[in-house]
């Protein structure tokens, strides 16, 4: 463990170019996937929170179950679609960062949708009468609830990001862990583990955790002043 910490500090201190390339790709892939998943997932979550339709209960159960999608299964499904012999093979996206973004988006959209649905539905219960007296349409209600719940929803987005940046099964299959092209933190950790270089693998793991900490601290810094204003 001490060896791993020393190694991690050494990698960061000497500005290891390979490490920074891998870190940047991890952030680019997972943050893009989180952004896309938020657009899709928050819309779906807000819709499910305010809409009432037959089969809604079953839809919620299904959505909640999809939070448990195994990354390796998502990777396999995306591989089968993006493979040259698959329906989307003509796009030539397999073994590119875009394929990794697609896989992580599929993986975390249900998480963002299911958690935001719960957050927004709880808020909606508070505001439903008010919305009705104001005569808001469903879309206006959804917009108002998404804005009002923005701080809780940031945490939802962070849950999605955490899942995306930590998973290895999906990006390994659709990215291929290609050096200088699709290698990210988790696949690099898996590779070093398989080479038996456990201290380096652990050092990379520590760097990954620090990055996750940094992203979450950044989000916290964004929301603190906003929250103060909101509650003033």
């Amino acid at each position: 463990m001490a060896e791993a910490i020393a190694l991690a500090l050494g990698l960061v201190a000497r500005g290891d170019a390979d490490l920074f390339e891998i870190v940047l790709l991890s952030l680019r892939v997972s943050l893009t996937a989180t952004a896309v998943a938020c657009v899709l997932g928050l819309t779906l979550g807000a819709f499910l929170a305010v809409a009432r339709f037959p089969g809604r209960g079953a839809a919620l159960v299904a959505l909640n179950a999809l939070m448990g999608l195994p990354p390796v299964v998502v990777g396999l499904l995306v591989y089968l679609h993006l493979s040259r012999s698959g329906p989307l093979g003509f796009l030539g996206l397999l073994y590119t960062p875009t394929a990794m973004i697609v896989a992580q988006t599929v993986l975390i959209t249900p998480i963002v949708a299911a958690l935001s649905r719960q957050v927004i539905e709880d808020l909606h219960r508070e505001y439903a009468d008010q919305f009705r007296s104001l005569g808001l349409t469903r879309w206006q209600s959804m917009g108002a609830l998404l804005w009002d719940g923005r701080f809780s929803l940031l945490t939802v987005a962070m849950a999605g990001f955490g899942r995306a940046v930590a998973e290895v099964g999906a990006v390994m299959i659709v990215g291929g862990n290609i050096d200088h092209l699709t290698r990210v933190m988790t696949t690099a950790i898996a590779l070093e583990t398989s080479k038996g270089d456990l201290p380096l693998a652990l050092a990379l793991g520590l760097v990954l955790m620090v990055i996750a900490l940094g992203v979450n601290a950044g989000v916290q810094a964004l929301r603190l002043p906003g929250e103060r204003v909101a509650h003033a």
């Binding site: 893009t32 657009v39 080479k195």
Partner: protein, 270 residues
């Protein structure tokens, strides 16, 4: 609106950065060649001379052949001759050529529970492991090493599958992961020598069985068939194969050493 614009820009950047290299090929290959560091040594030489970027996907031989059969790659570099020949016969590849070889070894713990240390009779050693019920960790993943191991059990007259979960433990993972697991449980492991030499978590393990001619491990290289797979970059892929088989490529393979040991021995046909 702003967010959507940003997303559109981000995804455009992602796409152009990902797939726009005109001269890059994908090589479907094995974990043993990648984990041993051979590509890190060879590819900069080739890329420097030709400007063709080589992207390696390192998986087990079975998965590599499967991916190539789906047209997801330009060149296949693996080590399971009969499976490779079958792949070519089915129209997946253009031609298979011998490239290089190394050998398999059985590694084991120093206490040597099966009493096989130092022997060069691999079938005898495997029969002894089965008799004593000493743990043996198998890849169990349809890789080239796994196929070679199953052929050795067969010629040793042992059916290890009947002891699966008992002394015969199939990890279903790559060479390095299987070594980590096997060493963790005190099991014997069949591995290629290149992976073993470069493996860094050996603990108290050493080579127990080596030197049998049956442990020969041949690598072959194949261009994925551009007639079956129009996406194949035949020209660049063939340039890579030609370079590997040339005197220069063969010398480069022979020149790759770790701890003063040569890992791969070139044997392309003259």
């Amino acid at each position: 609106m702003k967010l959507i614009k940003k997303l559109a820009i981000a995804s455009t950047i992602a796409m152009t950065a990902g797939g726009a290299f005109a001269e890059s090929i994908i090589v479907q290959s094995t974990t043993s060649t990648a984990n041993s560091g051979l590509y890190d040594y060879l590819l900069p030489i080739f890329e420097g001379e030709t400007g063709i970027e080589v992207n390696v996907v390192a998986v087990g031989t079975g998965q590599a052949i499967g991916n190539a059969a789906n047209c997801d790659g330009d060149v296949l570099l693996v080590h399971a001759k009969s499976a490779e020949e079958k792949f070519v016969a089915e129209g997946g590849g253009v031609m298979r050529t011998d490239l290089m070889y190394n050998d398999f070894v059985i590694v084991g713990p120093t206490e040597d529970p099966a009493g096989v240390n130092g022997t060069d009779d691999v079938q005898g050693a495997m029969a002894k492991i089965a008799e004593t019920g000493a743990p043996f960790a198998s890849r169990g993943d349809d890789s080239g090493t796994h196929k070679a191991e199953l052929a050795l059990w067969n010629s040793a007259g042992v059916d290890p599958k009947s002891a699966s979960g008992d002394w015969y433990r199939e990890t279903g993972s790559g060479m390095g992961a299987t070594l980590n697991t096997g060493i963790g449980m005190g099991a014997y492991v069949l591995t290629d020598r290149a992976t073993w030499i470069s493996f860094e978590n050996k603990q108290d393990y050493d080579i127990a069985v080596e030197g049998d001619t049956d442990l020969f491990n041949q690598y072959g290289v194949i261009l994925v068939n551009p007639e079956k797979c129009p996406s194949v970059k035949a020209e660049e892929g063939q340039a890579f194969i030609d370079w590997l088989l040339s005197d220069e490529g063969q010398d480069a393979i022979a020149g790759y050493r770790i701890n003063d040991q040569q890992l791969f021995f070139p044997n392309a046909p003259e």
